[in-house]
Symmetry: C2
Subunit: 676 residues, 2 copies
């Protein structure tokens, strides 16, 4: 692929981005679209926008960028929750590390590559991209130590930044836990696998069990009889509640609060819970109507129960400890937030879950492998000369005028890949649902992992491999020289990766900003279907597609940084743009109904570590190919250090993301009691 072809697709994408951004800056000012672009604010802050018609509305502006950048982290945290902050920190981390990498590589390494072999250079536009990769460095070059040094610097700085971010997120997580207004989830434990007894009802057996074994802190419980029923009540109540909210009348509003409170039994509103430990009046009342509400359906079989404790610590202990000698009975977990509970999974028999997990695991692996076909095809497109040998009829295409070929090679492949990739997220989400998680957030997180593995495998490895598959078919037949294989291939694939960044990266950002689907749907609703606009439907941020996307670009950046630095500037633009766009979206468009409490960060951390180690292994292979024993020798300790660092983070910080420290829970209790 020639520089000119690259410039073609770069041009196309820059054009599209500018177009989209300016379009956005206009559209967002139209009152008609306010629901699309300010969903969160309207639903949460009830902000009113002026309807007046002024010309200024139709002039593209950049004010929104400034606004997006002006928000502080506290505001993001307050508006979009801890996950948003973690996502945000990931972008910040990427920007930092890759600006450093770009600086070092573009000015330090690119010249080495360009003048690597003393050949007759053409004019830059018609140069082949490979001129700028390490492929152009002579074997036994004196300059490979530069590569090794840069690798050291990048890895070192990356580790330091990672650690700081990790610690920062952990601290935020603890604060989020210490919050003065505790959320009911922390007082509640979800019990599954309740053994069925003939003689006594499920509700009473739960009562007996916890009064016997957790007498000190047990408060009361609510059995989940049929997810369908509870869910229907809740949704119904919510709908009513929303309908009522519209007339912002206080009295009505209170009654509607009562409703929410009533059907949030599975984790009542926080006020009620702050009271519980101190005065016993409220819970007793609640307990009363709880019981008579459950009496009439006692005969149905129960699958799960929410058990409430007087203190956070009590709930924590009850959820940590193994209850009985049969680990599949009386299984206790900390209950998710009321709005986070995934009702239709709660009543799944606990014994099924391990089977479901395995089944979904196998399913997603099969799906990944089936996906090979399109990817290989696409990769073929990016190497027409390769295809030409195999498929002679393609000569026809190559006879076409030059720019068309450039278009095909430079732009088409990754567009096709995009189209295929759109199907992935929903399918993975489906798999995660079948897995049987008890909360929306957990479901989304596991989907996030699946999509991440999928992308890394299908976009990175398979592209690399299928690039070689056309050359030599026995890639995986020899594991011990995989580094060498990768080293051979990666530089050659750089061109594809660059175009992938341009199309998939930039284009997806601008379409994300435009909310095309939302826009069109909104238009159709308003002017075609003439429906009354439902103000309450506001989507929540799709972490399960966005986190993997950003991480994948990070992987591409790390692996290409030293070998084909030309990708870095494009990547850096992507990250900057992403930073602005995502902040804007998080603050204006999406609404956070549920929050994992920063549990995305360990995923991010592990992926970055993986990318680093992979990069180092590939460089090891390259140094081996270039017969530079010194550089190769220096790379090995680097790998070891990176892995040690990862292990340190695991021991030092990871436990905070799997459970809550007792100290914090008890401290918060003391705090409350002292306050009340």
């Amino acid at each position: 692929m020639k520089i000119s072809a690259l410039l073609t697709s770069a041009g196309i994408n820059i054009g599209l981005c500018v177009l989209f951004l300016s379009l956005y800056s206009v559209l967002r000012k139209q009152p008609a679209n306010v629901r699309v672009y300010f969903g969160r604010r309207i639903s949460e802050e009830h902000s009113r926008l002026r309807e007046a018609f002024i010309l200024e509305r139709f002039v593209p502006s950049t004010g929104w960028i400034v606004k997006a950048l002006r928000y502080t982290e506290e505001e993001v945290l307050a508006a979009a929750g801890l996950d948003a902050v973690a996502f945000n920190r990931m972008l910040v981390f990427s920007i930092r590390i890759f600006s450093l990498a770009a600086l070092l590589c573009v000015f330090g390494i690119l010249p080495l590559h360009y003048y690597g072999k003393n050949i007759q250079h053409l004019r830059i536009p018609s140069e082949d991209l490979d001129i700028f990769t390490i492929g152009n460095v002579e074997v036994r070059s004196r300059w490979l130590w530069v590569h090794c040094l840069v690798l050291y610097i990048i890895s070192g700085v990356a580790c330091i930044l990672l650690y700081l971010e990790y610690r920062h997120i952990a601290r935020l997580r603890l604060l989020h836990l210490k919050r003065a207004t505790p959320n009911p989830g922390q007082f509640t434990v979800l019990v599954r696998g309740i053994p069925k007894t003939k003689k006594e009802s499920c509700s009473s057996s739960v009562d007996d069990f916890f009064t016997k074994y957790h007498a000190s802190s047990y408060l009361f419980h609510q059995v989940v009889y049929k997810a369908g029923k509870v869910q229907k009540i809740m949704t119904g109540a919510k709908k009513a509640c929303r309908k009522l909210k519209h007339f912002t009348d206080n009295t009505v509003d209170q009654s509607c609060k009562a409703i929410t409170y009533r059907c949030c039994l599975c984790g009542a509103s926080s006020n009620s819970f702050q009271l519980l430990p101190t005065n016993e009046v409220v819970p007793s009342r609640v307990k009363a109507d709880l019981d008579d509400s459950s009496l009439d359906i006692d005969n149905e079989e129960c699958a799960a129960a929410f058990v409430f404790f007087k203190t956070r610590y009590g709930a924590l202990v009850a959820s940590d400890v193994l209850q009985t000698s049969n680990p599949t009975k009386w299984v206790t977990d900390l209950a998710p937030e009321p709005s986070d509970v995934y009702w239709s999974n709660i009543w799944l028999p606990y014994k099924q879950l391990w089977i479901r997990r395995i089944a979904t695991l196998i399913g997603s692996i099969v799906f990944m492998l089936l996906f090979l076909a399109p990817v290989t095809f696409i990769n073929g497109l990016s190497q027409l000369d390769q295809l030409q040998k195999r498929l002679p009829f393609l000569n026809g295409i190559l006879k076409q005028p030059h720019h068309l070929v450039q278009l095909i090679t430079g732009y088409l492949p990754s567009v096709i890949l995009q189209i295929f990739l759109y199907s992935v997220a929903p399918i993975m989400m489906l798999f995660s649902t079948l897995e049987g998680p008890i909360s929306h957030s957990e479901r989304k997180r596991s989907a996030c992992c699946k999509v991440l593995y999928f992308l890394i495998w299908n976009v990175f490895f398979v592209n690399v491999v299928s690039g070689t598959v056309l050359k030599q078919l026995d890639f995986f037949s020899s594991p011990k020289d995989i580094p060498v294989q990768l080293a051979k291939v990666i530089p050659g694939q750089a061109s594809f990766f660059i175009t992938y960044v341009l199309t998939s990266g930039w284009a997806s950002l601008s379409s994300e900003l435009m909310q095309l689907f939302g826009l069109i749907w909104n238009f159709i609703r308003k002017y075609v279907l003439r429906m009354k606009e439902d103000t309450e439907f506001v989507p929540s941020f799709p972490y399960h597609t966005e986190v993997p996307k950003v991480l994948l670009f990070g992987l591409l950046g790390f692996t290409c940084s030293v070998l084909a630095p030309l990708i870095l500037p494009f990547l850096l633009v992507y990250f900057f743009l992403g930073y602005v766009v995502y902040r804007n979206q998080l603050l204006n468009v999406y609404r956070t109904r549920y929050d994992t409490g920063g549990l995305y960060w360990p995923i991010i951390h592990n992926t970055v570590i993986f990318s680093l180690v992979l990069t180092q292994i590939i460089c090891l292979g390259v140094f081996g190919l270039k017969v530079s024993p010194v550089a190769a020798g220096f790379t090995i300790p680097l790998i070891i250090f990176t892995l040690l660092f990862n292990q340190y983070c695991r021991t030092r910080l990871l436990p905070l993301f799997s459970t809550f420290p007792a100290q914090v829970c008890i401290a918060s209790i003391i705090l409350q009691t002292s306050r009340n």
Copy 2:
């Protein structure tokens, strides 16, 4: 290797075994050796043996075998602890499954192999062993379905038996926990990583922390100041105590009890603990002298502390919950039994441990790889014709009379291997010590795992591989056809494995029974050094060498069962002999000072599952080689089922081995309180 060569080494070993056993049956009757052969009984049951001289003492007898078999499981449990029972069950399981396998394979499969190809058969003795392996079955044979069926039966029965044993051990573990006389370890938590504060002493900071966060169940604590000091006191006290015990005088005996009690502060004797929850007099007294005992050394820095709780449940909770927001501070684990504590590791700073673990891991891997050299050499010996090609000077040996060659090929190799293997256990034990476990039992368990991996890798795989290394050197270069490779090699290696069973297996058993070292040492002490015999030194059972040994033979049995059934009879003899011998040793010779509470069983279970799956994979390869798509097709679901079964056991039973169920703890408390 010819049958005759096999018979030679079999003859040698049977002769040796009979000799050793009869020797043992004589020696054990000699009063001089009573300390060697009845260490446990003398030290625990204080049984007196008659000194009278009678001829009967010098006549070999088999009474001890009957005695060993007569003991019930309860007696074994009482005498040697739960680990001994687990070990015993492992032998029972092996006997059961391999008697079935031998029945099926010897009568079902062996004929198929022998008449597999219609060739001119010689006289049996001069037949080559390979005649009896699957190598002698024709490609596309109609009879391979028999192999597949047998494989199904063996796998199925093995899984069923495994599950029953696993459940049995789990039940015993729970009983062992419910025991009426609770052991102090369950009331005690070992705290490490106590943060150092300038202003207050370590002891008081511990006190503050636990009175603040575990007020309800915290009783008192004892800081470990310097392992050396406490250890010296304890050992000194113990010695004195033993000296006193000799005059079986009650008053003295009590005072001596008092001493043990005093220095078992870190987990006092059980009686004292049963009292603690009920009357507060004892602890207050203890607490008092605890404090003044600790006051004088308060200025020293403290590394760890034993914290005592009123109830088991309290201790369990304190050990389960993450204490502070820094996971490397205030690290709590259930304390080991007083006699089990590994003092010299207690004061290791907790922050070091993760580094130590990694270091020892790397160290043991390196050691494994370094061990390749001898193994390869030995394997060469078992295939002289191979060596001959490489090393022409060996022709001299092959000119020797026939039986000498047979001796070399049949017997020498595994003897050499034995000699090398003797060095492994101590080295692995050293590694495990460096890892920093807090209890002897944990140390022994991790050593057991290391030795197990070592044996499986160096005795099984490397023998197999180096067997091929002489043929084709690129064994690991192609992972995807490893099954085929294994399938090619295993039958050829059968001869070596059989001789390995004969020499390593039988010989080691009889030497284990003879206690040669103990015998000689005892002799030297008595008649050369004229030392006063120290009645108190009684070794504890070396699980870390014996468990892996038995498991390795299990692996050999499973992998060879279908392919080279000739090994099974020899193996079965080994297991029967082992059953008798080990029972005898556990009941008479060894003394159990500490007990993991059956934690060896998960290791055993996993290894058996691994062996099964490996066998199935190898058979898959074989069926592939023999071009029998049906058999191969039927094997794949078998592999999947086996893995699913393992997963089920993990979810259903494994948790019981990592923690204690709250129900049991609380039930036992209720029991006590009701009793007192």
